[in-house]
C-alpha cells in the first residue's frame, strides 16, 4: 500500500500566491524520497501538505489510502523533524523526547525505557538530565530526531533538518539517519538544499521548480544499502552528483523563465 499519495493536490495561499501547482506523487513503503529545488519551489509547502500542517486548496492527500483521521494508529504513525530542533527549553532532554508519548497518553513507566532506547540510538544516553541549552547544535538536532523515533514512526518527514549545521556534523547525522531508516525500514521524505546530501541519502530524488512550485524531474539512485563513507568518496557518487546538478540547474532556469 502507498504510504502517501497526492492526487492533484495544490496550494494557493490566502494572498492569492500560488505555492504549488497540482501535484501527483506516491511514496512506497521503505522509500527515502528527497525533495530538492531552488528556493520558492514549494518543497517545504509540499512537505507540510504531507504532514497535514497545511490543507490542499484542491485535490487530495491520502495516508495509507485513507484520510488523516486514522494517522497515529499503529502502522500509521508520522513523525516530523523541523529545520530547527524545536525543543522545549524548559524541559530536560528526557522530557523533550517523551513529549509525543505523553501527548499520546502513554504512562511514564512505559515511556521511560522507550525514551532511553531512542536516546541510545542517537548516542545521547548520557544526556538525559541536560537542558537543551547545555547541548551543541548537532546534539540538539539529535534530541529532535530521538523525539521523532520514540513513537516508532512509519513515516518520517524532515524539513532541512541539518541545514544549520557544519558539514562534518551534517555528514555524521546523515550517516546515522541512513542507518536508522535502513534498520527500521522507515519511509522517509526529506527536504534539503544540498545535492550531495540528496545523493547520499535518497532512493529517489524529486527535483522541483518554482513559479509555480511543481515537480520538474525525478531521479532514482539505485545504490544499495547500507551506504557509508565508501559511497561518499566513490566515482559513482561524483557521477550521480554531477547528473543531479545538471537537472537542478535546468530546474532553476525553468523556474526563473516564467517570471
Amino acid at each position: 500500500m502507498k504510504v502517501v499519495e497526492l492526487r492533484g493536490a495544490d496550494k494557493v495561499f490566502s494572498n492569492g500566491m500560488r505555492g504549488l501547482a497540482p501535484i501527483d506523487l506516491a511514496v512506497q513503503p521503505g522509500e527515502f524520497v528527497t525533495l530538492i529545488g531552488p528556493s520558492g519551489c514549494g518543497k517545504s509547502t509540499l512537505l507540510k501538505l504531507i504532514a497535514n500542517l497545511l490543507g490542499p486548496t484542491a485535490g487530495e492527500v491520502a495516508w495509507w489510502g485513507e484520510n488523516f483521521g486514522r494517522v497515529g494508529e499503529p502502522g500509521r504513525r508520522i513523525a516530523f523533524v523541523f529545520q530547527e530542533p524545536t525543543l522545549m527549553p524548559w524541559s530536560r532532554v528526557e522530557a523533550n523526547v517523551r513529549l509525543p508519548l505523553d501527548l499520546a497518553g502513554i504512562a511514564p513507566a512505559e515511556a521511560a525505557p522507550r525514551v532511553a532506547a531512542a536516546l541510545a540510538q542517537v548516542e545521547l544516553s548520557g544526556f538525559l538530565r541536560h537542558y537543551p541549552r547545555q547541548l551543541s547544535g548537532g546534539m540538539r538536532m539529535r534530541v529532535s530526531i530521538a523525539r521523532a523515533l520514540v513513537t516508532g514512526p512509519d513515516l518520517l518527514l524532515m524539513d532541512e533538518p541539518f541545514g544549520a549545521l557544519d558539514e562534518f556534523t551534517r555528514n555524521r547525522l546523515d550517516d546515522d539517519l541512513l542507518r536508522l531508516s535502513f534498520e527500521r525500514r522507515l519511509t522517509t521524505i526529506f527536504v534539503t538544499h544540498s545535492l550531495y546530501e540528496a545523493v547520499f541519502l535518497s532512493t529517489r530524488v524529486i527535483v522541483m521548480a518554482a513559479n509555480p512550485g511543481r515537480i520538474y524531474a525525478e531521479f532514482r539512485i539505485d545504490e544499495p544499502e547500507p551506504r557509508g563513507d565508501d559511497f561518499r568518496s566513490s566515482a559513482r557518487f561524483a557521477e550521480l552528483s554531477r547528473e543531479l546538478s545538471q537537472i537542478l540547474h535546468a530546474a532553476s532556469v525553468a523556474g526563473a523563465a516564467v517570471q
Partner: protein, 263 residues
C-alpha cells in the same frame, strides 16, 4: 566584564554604601548642618532604634497592604491575561482599558477610592492593586502569545488538546514574561501602598510608614522621617530580591534571565 568571585559581587555594593554613609556623616558634622535640615546617618540610626516599636508596627501595616495588593494584582492580572488570549476581539476590546488604568496616576484616583470604600485597609489595598496590576496583565498576555510556532505546529501534529497545549506549552513559555511582570509589580505595589497612605492620611492602629513620614514632617522630626524612608526603601529592596530568588528558583537551568556563570 565579569565578576571574579560571588563574594566580591556582594561586597562591592556594600562597600559603596558604607563609603557614601561615611561621606554623608563627615559632611554633616564638619559642615555643621543642623539636624532639622539634614540629619547625620548616626542620628537617623539612633531615632530608628528609639522609635523601633512604632516604626515596626507601621512597617507591618504597610507591608500587609503591599502584600495583599501584590497577591490580588497577580491573581486578577493573570486571570485577565488568560481571558485576553482566548480571543483577539476580547483582547482588542479590553486592553485599552487596562492601559487607561495604568496611565491614570494613583494620586488622582486614590481620593475617589477612599471615599467610595469605607474600610481604610481595603481602600488602600485597592489603590495599590490598581497600580500593580498592569505589568502582570501586559507581561502575561505577551508571554502567553510568545509561543514558538514550530512547537505549536508540533503539538497540533500530535493531536494535542487545547488544555494540553495550554499546560505543556503556553504556560511554560509565558513564565519568564510573567516573572518579569512580578518583579515590576512587587515594586509598584509598595509604591501604590505608600502613595495611598499619603492620600488617605489615616492614623491610629493601622497607620503605615507614610503616615509616620507625614507626622514626623509636621513635628520637624527629620531623623524619624529618614528612618521611615529607610524602612520603605529596605522593603522595596527585599521585595525585589525575593522576586529575583523566585525567578531563579523557577527558571533555574533553562532561561537566560536565571543564568549563572557557566560551570
Amino acid at each position: 566584564m565579569t565578576e571574579r568571585t560571588p563574594g566580591l559581587r556582594a561586597a562591592a555594593p556594600v562597600a559603596v554604601g558604607l563609603l557614601i554613609l561615611a561621606l554623608w556623616e563627615g559632611a554633616c558634622r564638619f559642615g555643621h548642618v543642623p539636624p532639622y535640615l539634614f540629619p547625620t546617618p548616626s542620628a537617623i540610626a539612633l531615632r530608628l532604634v528609639e522609635q523601633w516599636p512604632v516604626l515596626l508596627r507601621a512597617l507591618g501595616s504597610t507591608l500587609l497592604i503591599t502584600v495583599q495588593a501584590f497577591v490580588l494584582a497577580v491573581v486578577l492580572g493573570t486571570l485577565i491575561a488568560f481571558v485576553f488570549v482566548q480571543n483577539k476581539l476580547i483582547e482588542a476590546s479590553f486592553f485599552p482599558y487596562a492601559v487607561l488604568l495604568q496611565v491614570t496616576p494613583v494620586v488622582a484616583v486614590a481620593p475617589l477610592i477612599i471615599i467610595l470604600v469605607k474600610n481604610t485597609a481595603l481602600s488602600l489595598t485597592i489603590c495599590a492593586t490598581v497600580v500593580a496590576i498592569f505589568p502582570v496583565i501586559s507581561n502575561t498576555t505577551i508571554g502567553l502569545h510568545s509561543v514558538d510556532p514550530g512547537l505549536l505546529s508540533y503539538f497540533r501534529m500530535n493531536k494535542a488538546t487545547r488544555l494540553e497545549t495550554l499546560l505543556r506549552l503556553r504556560i511554560p513559555s509565558a513564565l519568564p514574561f510573567f516573572l518579569a511582570g512580578l518583579r515590576i509589580a512587587s515594586g509598584l505595589a509598595l509604591i501604590g501602598a505608600v502613595v495611598a497612605e499619603f492620600v488617605a492620611g489615616t492614623g491610629g492602629q493601622s497607620a503605615g510608614l507614610a503616615y509616620q513620614i507625614l507626622q514626623a514632617g509636621f513635628q520637624l522630626d527629620i531623623p524619624l522621617m529618614f528612618a521611615a524612608l529607610f524602612l520603605i526603601a529596605l522593603t522595596g529592596v527585599a521585595l525585589y530580591l525575593a522576586m529575583v530568588a523566585l525567578n531563579n528558583a523557577v527558571l533555574g537551568g533553562w532561561h537566560e534571565s536565571a543564568r549563572t556563570e557557566e560551570t
